[in-house]
């Protein structure tokens, strides 16, 4: 228990140290853009594939159940897929996916830099490594995660449409009617809140795990695993809290 509080304290101190005046804003900007490319563009293919099939599976399974009941109009499918994607599937499943891809990447990158003394090299040059190495990664995550989630929503909805048409569950006009039905901007707001919170959770925990690695290759692997596991668990808890408190 003491160890958990000790880690929490170290994590909070590290996050506080991340916020400081940059030595040269232009260098931080370049690093942030590099991270945006790595996190955003690098995650595009996997997010695209998963989202398309996530929407398709949602459409197929709900259609199967609604057909069985028989009382519910099939144009509801557009609404169901849209709501599922916006409120739950796009932000949460994308976050879990990104915890695996981006989280492990960040933890192992920083861990390797720590072990190979690259972080010490930055320190000795006079660079504040907490803000230079961690800050841009968190900022890039905060910028790119919501964009990836928006993309995920669009592709998920497209996947739902495609599956419905291919399976002959509903027509395009029925699906579009459902999509337009009872659309609430508050749902979009919740989606953005979730994606920003998940982005911070995943990037900050992964940076903490990677930055504080001690040892060698085995410890880097362990830090990477811990980053994925811990950020996934926190994402699920935060997801529940947001739903519980805001819906």
């Amino acid at each position: 228990m003491i160890k958990i509080f000790q880690s929490l304290g170290e994590y909070l101190l590290l996050m506080r140290a991340t916020v400081s005046r940059p030595e040269k804003a232009r260098m931080y900007w370049i690093e942030a853009m590099r991270q945006c490319y790595s996190i955003g563009v690098g995650s595009l293919p996997i997010i695209a594939i998963i989202s398309l099939f996530m929407g398709a599976v949602t459409a197929v399974q709900f259609s199967y159940q609604l057909r069985g009941i028989g009382l519910v109009p099939m144009w509801w499918m557009g609404s169901i897929v849209r709501k599922s994607m916006i409120l739950e599937l796009a932000p949460t499943l994308s976050a879990l996916l990104l915890a695996g891809k981006v989280g492990s990447n960040i933890a192992s990158e920083l861990g390797t830099m720590r072990i190979s003394e690259q972080i010490d090299a930055y320190e000795i040059m006079g660079v504040n490594t907490r803000s230079y190495l961690i800050g841009p990664k968190i900022i890039a995550s905060l910028l790119m995660f919501p964009m990836l989630v928006v993309l995920s929503v669009f592709l998920g909805i497209s996947g739902g449409w495609l599956a419905g048409i291919l399976g002959n569950f509903y027509s395009t006009s029925e699906y579009v009617r459902g999509l337009q039905d009872a659309m609430k901007s508050y749902d979009i707001f919740i989606m953005f809140i979730k994606s920003v919170l998940f982005a911070f959770t995943i990037s900050s925990i992964s940076c903490f795990k990677g930055y504080t690695v001690e040892g060698g290759a085995i410890e880097i692997g362990m830090a990477s695993t811990q980053a994925v596991v811990q950020s996934s668990v926190i994402v699920i808890i935060v997801n529940f809290l947001v739903a519980f408190l805001m819906l």
């Binding site: 690259q118 040059m125 006079g126 504040n128």
Partner: protein
Amino acid sequence: MIEMQNVKKSFGNNEVLRGVSAVFESGKCNLIIGKSGSGKTVTLKCLVGLFEPDEGSIFYHKRDITKMEFDEKKKIRQEFGMLFQGTALFDSLSVESNIRFPLDMFTDMSDSEKADRVNFCLKRVNMTDTNKKFPGELSGGMKKRVGIARAIVNNPKYLFCDEPNSGLDPKTSLVIDQLIQEITAEYNMTTVINTHDMNSVMGIGDKVIFLHEGLKYWEGTNKDILQITEGELFDFIFASDFLKDLRRRATY
């Protein structure tokens, strides 16, 4: 000049430095030698401020780094250059970008001025035409030379080298030693080198400090060290029975 006064450092119950005092002089290669675990690396990390000593002071021309706040420490570190044991070159950057990094971060030089400075440093370490290569494409000796180029690019007043010859063949080691010695004299830097290598001690040891069990056991020059006939330093220099035998034959 760097002055260490009674520096102590422990990790848990392990007392690594037990009160080390030493002076490292400007324009000279100051070597710290000692067995593995004698406290060389901890001494070097205390000097550059990566470890905070539990007790004692470290003065850089009368400025005590142990009393400095984080921002002051950042500022004085811009006067440092360091060559790491594993070179610590940034994997994702080319040779040119590695050397250029301190200039990008801390100077307002124009792009052409930076390019000139990078090329000058690369030429100084005999590494021309490697600008676009990545660290993964270089041999151990080449990486060390790029590490030296990066360390000197900002005209540092203090150069620190942690085992500069580790992993290198004897001939390349001599080249690296010679380079460090020339650069030290050229820029009148205070150079502190951690080493196990007796060739380095004899070649460039203007001042040699022998650490043993966390204490300064002996201090002198490379000329003095050959006069040692017994004790821990003798065992360190003439580690094998073969060398001890040679030493005795040379004496008698």
